[in-house]
Symmetry: C2
Subunit: 179 residues, 2 copies
Amino acid sequence: MISEQQREQARARTVEYLKKAGVVLTEEEIRNIEIADFGLGDLERTGLQLFTYVNCPRYCAKDLVLFPGQTCAEHRHPPIDDSNPGKQETFRCRYGVVYLYVEGEPTENRKCSPPQGDEAYYTVFHEIVLHPGDQYTIPPNVKHWFQAGDEGAVVSEFSSLSLDEKDIFTDPRIVRVPQ
Amino acid sequence: MISEQQREQARARTVEYLKKAGVVLTEEEIRNIEIADFGLGDLERTGLQLFTYVNCPRYCAKDLVLFPGQTCAEHRHPPIDDSNPGKQETFRCRYGVVYLYVEGEPTENRKCSPPQGDEAYYTVFHEIVLHPGDQYTIPPNVKHWFQAGDEGAVVSEFSSLSLDEKDIFTDPRIVRVPQ
Ligand SMILES: [Zn+2]
Ligand SMILES: [Zn+2]
């Protein structure tokens, strides 16, 4: 677990990265920035900061912030019911560089490695490199993980309805939505 | 009709406004910026510049640019079929100020007027003022129009599937999607 003080510091740092991408949040919105350490208690290494603009049954939009070298752990968005084959996500890089890994032919000499010691929980290695202005759509139920370059990254996520508690992480220690 | 040269100039100007909001487009994307004069041939007064990041059955995301004082004409997004009650739009202001008018109690001393001579085609006057960081969701089938302040405006639009050719404009002269 990370402390509330650590969360507050991470929120302030998130605002700095969002500013680099020209993103303006209100004071109330800043308090609602989500700091996700996935229950691993090692935010700098494995974690994600995010702000949700809108999440409704018909669409969802968020901005994601990654600190330098930070990794969002491997996961997939499974089918929910007959009308929802799982969340589909379009990532658009706004600032920095993000290295995205999805199912498919493993990329030779890929740029990133999983967090040291956690290699067992990373299984997909097809690399997509997103610079500002680049985007990529991840189909439902496809495993993916991503890591920021040395400058950190700001990524806009456009998607179908987000149901974070349904996400399936490869690492069985992970709790996406704390109780 | 506006000329291709006018469209090119409007695209270059749109890029300048997007830059003010920190938005980066690739060269290919810049060529795909849509210049919508609604068939009125008076872009500076009534029109909209837009770039679509993604438009798929499950969600849509665009950035809209308005030049100073430019008006996007009154319209609504009607029901399409049993599974689609009409497009729902969430507007988030990124730069400048946008004055949005929707159905409801007319606002006294409202900031904007419809383009002169076109008053007959503007019927809703409940005002919502969006500064950077402010957002508002327009339910399906609700009439709306909007106008930028003196600095122009950049507005992110998160929405359900966009079917522009189905939009219903109050002004019968308007053709949203030219044949
Ligand atoms: Zn995901
Ligand atoms: Zn609309």
